[in-house]
Assembly symmetry: C2
């Protein structure tokens, strides 16, 4: 009997590096993790990670064949196999991640950022299985995005296509400051943090009472605002409305760039369902050029959220084999 | 001796339809035109155009082999070979242009809009010959754009990718009205018409004297403003500065979407050289996310402007043969 083909999907975060051994159908046959921040040296980190993956693979026995390593990492550059100037990882500057892996293996290694991995994951295992042109937007602490064009991930000349979180809502210096050093970036409005910032603005501008007025900025999180909105809190609902509106406004621009079949929303904020989808859809349609109106689907990601990052990373290898 | 391979490049405009018979090096061996607006019926128009092209080809003798018809047209849809709801053509609704051509020939027919044709032209004959990821922005009465991603034209799911002219400068209803029915579209700022509108705004806001104050909106054109700016007119210079600034602001968004190697400016306004390139470059850099800064070239198109539309259209067939 032929051995079952599997790939390693690796999700590198500032705290943990999670990985899974995944079959073509998206079943995670085994998984484990190591602590990213324990390793000050990227070389030592990669050696430890590779070792742990091999040990985990051995537990699956001889019936599996490993095809490659797909890696999602902050500021992962798919052209070069590097991680470049990440904000939250122990290794500063440029880390040649693929090269460090190649000291241990001859199998294919694909490195990209988590939003690109999510986009390929949606194509390999999720709701974009029959699509050639679509966008995935990841809503977490920040906002990431991955574009598939003509059936392939769009990575651009420098390997960094799809940084929608840092497109701008409007020109000028009077806008919200962003972690990246710019002002008015989309993710200062549309992300878990952006939602909090908007709630504070709504509180400042309105006089209605709200339980949320009891909490400081530091105490608040997106889930509390989500719960309040579900329970009818008018300020929380207004904050979601404005967040969706800003998202919809920029999605119309995304459509004017790439004319996708669908835009998928992925991650924490996307779970707020109609609270975010309704205003986003409305304001996208309102701002679309007439030739696009009513034609672009706005959908929730179909990747299992618990394992989405590992699945997305693993899909990079299937995609490599099949394209 | 093998016959010389040529393609027909066709540029459909509201007044004239120009065409040329073009070799692989971009030499136009013969050219002619018919009056678009003479033909109320698209079927009759295509028959007349095909006939005229064949007559022109016969004059080149037996030593040429025609490989196909590349057509640039307003609202040309590359997926379907149609022209859809054009503003300035005699045929309303959806015209099945490729299908009408196929009644006369079995050769390949590619239909797209003039900005996509310009992008392919830049790749086949112009400054993007070695590039896989770039953008061409056409600056005329309006603003068009064509994107090449992974070495292929990006046409999107519906065939209408790259409508940058209708991305928005800022959200909200208090922005400049656009012909498309929306407000705040980029082309209401960055185009020949946008430049005129901005000049009027500058005149309204300032007190400096200017020869241009003698002319009505209807009398003004982009060339007059260009000439005035070259001669030191402060208001004309300010209008260019603002136009370049708005362009640069949105180019930073284009980079965050697609991370191109270069952005080419094509058409009338691009001939204003530093008057438009300098503020556009400055404001693009100012608004770029740090990972892109200093990496994206802003260049003038290298297509011969007199024949650029015909060359761009003809390049669609070479591109089809070679990709």
């Amino acid at each position: 009997m032929a051995r079952k083909k599997i790939v390693a999907g690796i999700d590198i975060g500032g705290t943990n590096t999670a990985f899974g051994l995944v079959d073509r159908e998206g079943n995670i046959l085994a998984e484990d993790r190591i602590k990213t921040f324990h390793y000050k040296e990227a070389e030592v980190y990669v050696a430890a990670l590779y070792e742990k993956i091999m040990v985990t693979k051995q537990k699956l026995g001889q019936e599996v064949e490993l095809l490659g390593f797909g890696i999602g990492a902050p500021m992962g550059n798919i052209n070069k196999g590097t991680i470049e100037y990440p904000a939250n990882l122990p290794w500063k500057g440029i880390t040649p991640l693929a090269e460090l892996f190649r000291r241990h293996t001859d199998l294919p290694i694909v490195v990209t950022n988590d939003a690109n991995a999510a986009a390929v994951g949606e194509m390999v295992y999720g709701g974009a299985r029959d699509m050639k042109n679509f966008v995935v937007i990841t809503l977490g602490t920040g906002l990431g995005s991955g574009f598939v064009v003509n059936g392939k991930l769009m990575y651009g000349h420098g390997g960094f296509a799809g940084e929608l979180g840092h497109t701008a809502i409007r020109p000028g210096p009077s806008n919200r400051a962003c972690d990246c050093g710019k002002r008015g970036c989309l993710e200062t409005y549309v992300s878990a943090t952006g939602l909090k910032r908007t709630l504070l603005k709504v509180m400042a501008d309105s006089i209605e009472p709200s339980d949320l007025r009891k909490y400081s900025f530091d105490q608040l999180d997106a889930e509390m605002i989500h719960d309040a909105a579900k329970n009818g809190d008018i300020l929380a609902k207004r904050a979601f409305e404005h967040t969706g509106k800003m998202l919809g406004f920029k999605l119309a621009d995304v459509v004017a760039h790439t004319d996708p079949e669908a835009i998928f929303l992925f991650g924490g904020l996307a779970k707020a369902n109609e609270l975010i989808f309704k205003p986003a859809k409305e304001h996208m349609e309102e701002n679309l050029l007439y030739i696009y109106k009513g034609k672009v689907k706005l959908l929730p990601s179909e990747l299992d959220t618990r394992n989405a990052a590992v699945l997305g990373a693993s899909s990079l290898i299937w995609n490599l084999k099949e394209s």
